[in-house]
């Protein structure tokens, strides 16, 4: 084996550092899924009737999908059938009271967990800059900065709380972007989702800090089904971040989330993800199945939704953050880095649906495959008849490290309006031995060479990330910060 291969191996085979388990008493429902499970979850959360009804409808719809074996099979990922009766659908750390009002009431074990993950909730509160909603297994355990945000009329809380306290907003928007009929996993999520983040930015308000949710799966055999709903009212702006990790376990765990974004006239939502669920071990044992439906609706004119994702974890990633460009002149963006190593599989991309006039979309996708990883970009650009003057630019680049991995690109284009302009570029490259030698001849190690090349490859995406996340993303890829500073 050449030294180039050795370097890539050591670079990509870094240990998963977030694989510990928190010993904490949890309140879980029995395994399995039926109407009683759903009623139990709904009653634990003390939900209004419309929620329970919506869940049950979703469940009944899901049952028909399951019977007709409608679990999606078109993605370029392979896994044994999932037994949905083996999953625990609700698990929450036991609380002393109804819910912590401040960080002082949060179980110290939990605070310690987040500290270990590099998310010290307490310090964050002092350092300011980022408001965090911490979701542990099925429930939100803490949300920081709420009072300060409240002064501006911004609502940032757990989904469960929003159901109680902002019922009308939830009722108005829930399922309007991703209805439960959308797909198999969206139906499942609607039936059993347990928590998530809710965010509302009122008219004309520019949210002064990054809003962030940190998702942590801890309990065994538990699925995490969270739902995030963000509404940006006319003329508002918000930047939202999410991060995620899970313990190392031999069994696969299911994470089926739904994210819905709504941007009204002249509003902007920037949504960034650093996904680092446990990817499984070197032989491909264990790891999270990350089957996520994320979609944003650019409802108003001049609205903008920008997705940025860095996907390094999960055994399987199935995820297509998309934009419905309804308002005239609205803008959709998708920036993605997806890394697959060992036996990881990723089938990810986006859908840009142009409906309004002069709508624009940009897609920048960077896939990195190492080990036996399989990386697929799947994207759709659809320009409807109504979308006069629509424009799209797509660029899909793949980088291969080693010779046992794979990169695949499936772009779908559907153009119904002759005035539209659609561009698509794609490249596939491999880190060459001659490139590594060039670095070494200049005094740099092969490891530096690989990380500088990988980092350079991802630069277009990294610079879309908020600074703090850019640093985290770089660390995740084991690379140094290049280009975006100085």
């Amino acid at each position: 084996m050449t030294s180039e291969m050795d370097t890539i191996e050591t670079l990509v085979n870094k240990e998963y550092k977030w694989g510990f388990v928190t010993e904490i008493e949890s309140d879980s429902v029995p395994r399995g899924l039926n109407e009683d499970t759903i009623r139990l979850i709904s009653s634990k959360k003390n939900e209004p009737d419309f929620m329970l009804e919506w869940r049950l409808n979703a469940y009944r719809h899901w049952l028909t999908l399951e019977e007709s074996q409608a679990e999606p099979t078109w993605a370029n990922v392979h896994y044994p059938p999932i037994n949905y009766q083996e999953i625990v659908y609700y698990s929450a750390p036991v609380r002393k009271k109804d819910g912590p009002k401040s960080l002082d009431e949060v179980d110290p074990e939990l605070l310690k967990t987040y500290e270990k993950l590099g998310i010290p909730l307490r310090e964050r509160e002092i350092l300011s800059g980022v408001a965090i909603d911490a979701v542990f297994d099925s429930v939100s355990v803490a949300t920081t900065f709420r009072e300060k945000l409240k002064e501006l009329g911004i609502i940032f809380c757990s989904f469960s709380e929003a159901v109680q306290e902002h019922t009308d907003l939830v009722r108005e928007y829930l399922g309007t972007v991703v209805p439960y009929t959308d797909n198999f996993f969206a139906a499942l999520n609607a039936a059993v989702f347990t928590d998530g983040s809710f965010c509302y930015i009122p008219k004309g308000v520019r949210c002064p800090m990054e809003l962030s949710t940190y998702f942590r799966i801890n309990a065994k055999n538990t699925g995490q089904f969270e739902r995030t709903l963000i509404i940006a009212d006319a003329g508002s702006y918000v930047s939202y971040l999410e991060g995620c990790t899970a313990p190392m376990r031999d069994e696969n765990q299911l994470h089926a989330a739904v994210v819905e974004l709504i941007a009204h006239d002249d509003a902007t939502i920037k949504y960034s993800t650093v996904q680092n669920w446990y990817p499984g071990d070197k032989e491909g044992k264990g790891g999270i199945y990350n089957f996520v439906t994320k979609r944003g609706k650019c409802l108003g004119k001049n609205s903008k939704i920008s997705w940025t994702q860095v996907e390094t974890g999960s055994a399987i990633t199935w995820k297509y953050p998309s934009c419905l460009l309804i308002g005239d002149n609205s803008i959709g963006e998708f920036y993605s880095v997806a890394l697959t190593n060992n036996y990881q599989q990723a089938d990810t991309g986006t859908k840009m649906i142009h409906i309004g006039k002069n709508t624009r979309s940009t897609i920048i996708s960077k896939g990195i495959s190492a080990g036996q990883g399989q990386n697929t970009y799947r994207g759709m650009v659809k320009i409807l008849k109504s979308a006069a003057g629509a424009r799209n630019y797509s660029q899909c680049d793949s980088l291969l490290l080693g010779d046992k991995c794979g990169a695949h690109t499936f772009p779908y284009l559907e153009v119904k309006n002759p005035s539209a302009q659609v561009e698509h570029e794609a490249t596939t490259s491999r880190i060459g031995e001659d490139q590594i030698f060039y670095f070494r001849q200049r005094g740099l190690s092969s490891e530096d060479a690989v990380s500088m090349i990988v980092n350079g490859f991802c630069k277009q995406v990294f610079r879309e990330l908020p600074m703090e996340f850019a640093v985290e993303a770089q660390k995740l890829l084991g690379v140094s910060l290049e280009g975006s500073v100085g």
């Binding site: 050449t2 030294s3 490259s429 060459g432 031995e433 001659d434 490139q435 030698f437 060039y438 670095f439 070494r440 001849q441 200049r442 005094g443 740099l444 190690s445 092969s446 530096d448 500088m452 090349i453 980092n455 350079g456 490859f457 991802c458 630069k459 290049e482 280009g483 500073v485 100085g486």
Partner: protein, 258 residues
């Protein structure tokens, strides 16, 4: 500084270098000339430590150490520089950032402070002028979209910044027009120093009009068959390599160097 003794090396079982002997002292400029396929580039790559070449016999001593036992980056940090005949493109990595990382790797090895972006810019500004490196070239990804001439200038510019002890220039003059050749030559001359040695590997004599060597060696079929002063280069230019291959019999046919 550099002593090569009976060096034999092969590529994929085929022997290219068949016993090369060469001694280079500090302060000297050596030109190694020879026809295509004589082993010039192989010699340069073996000295730099490129993989894919098997050294089957002989020794190379550099500043008293066994050069062949060192990893390529180790050689670079100890002051061995190779200007590539075909510099590779590194998409996404800016020329400036790359060079600063390289310089800092070398400085660190020599127990010098690493330079930040501002100090680095101050450090390279003069050298950019000598090699007519525009700022735009510095900001672009390493060699990406550079013309042939720009790539070669960039190599010599890197050399000027990294200040090696032993510089090996592999066909640096190939593909250069006369203006670029002059620029590159002035870059090389600026680096001449009693503490440094330069090995120019070239097919043509024309670079040697601008960078006058102290010694000229002719490599043919993996061996140095003739050594001399700078006048040897001119003689080769007039008579062609065939003059040597046919054991000193001068000939014109098909042997012109132009």
């Amino acid at each position: 500084m550099l002593e090569i003794k009976n060096l034999r090396a092969s590529v994929e079982q085929r022997e290219i270098l068949k016993g090369v002997n060469l001694r280079v002292n500090a302060g000297e400029v050596h030109a190694i000339m020879g026809p295509n396929g004589s082993g010039k580039s192989t010699l340069a790559h073996v000295l730099a430590g490129r993989e894919g070449y098997q050294v089957t016999e002989g020794q190379v001593t550099y500043l008293g150490n066994d050069l062949l036992g060192m990893a390529p980056e180790q050689r670079a940090r100890e002051g061995v520089f190779l200007a590539f005949q075909y510099p590779v493109e590194i998409p996404g990595v800016s020329n400036m950032y790359f060079l600063r990382a390289a310089l800092n790797a070398i400085r660190k090895h020599r127990n010098l402070d690493e330079l930040d972006a501002v100090d680095f810019l101050g450090f390279v500004r003069e050298k950019m002028k000598v090699l007519e490196m525009e700022q735009t070239l510095m900001n672009r990804p390493v060699n990406e979209g550079f013309s042939g001439g720009e790539k070669k200038r960039n190599e010599i510019f890197q050399m000027a910044v990294l200040e090696p002890k032993l510089a090996i220039l592999d066909e640096t003059d190939s593909g250069l027009d006369i203006d670029a050749l002059r620029t590159v030559a002035s870059g090389i001359n600026a680096l001449r120093h009693p503490d440094r040695a330069v090995v120019l590997v070239t097919h043509y004599q024309r670079l040697l009009n601008y960078v006058v060597p102290d010694f000229v060696h002719v490599l043919s079929e993996g061996r140095i068959v003739k050594s001399g002063g700078k006048e040897l280069a001119r003689e080769l230019e007039d008579k062609g390599y065939v003059w040597l291959e046919e054991s000193g019999q001068p000939t014109q046919a098909g042997a012109s160097l132009r």
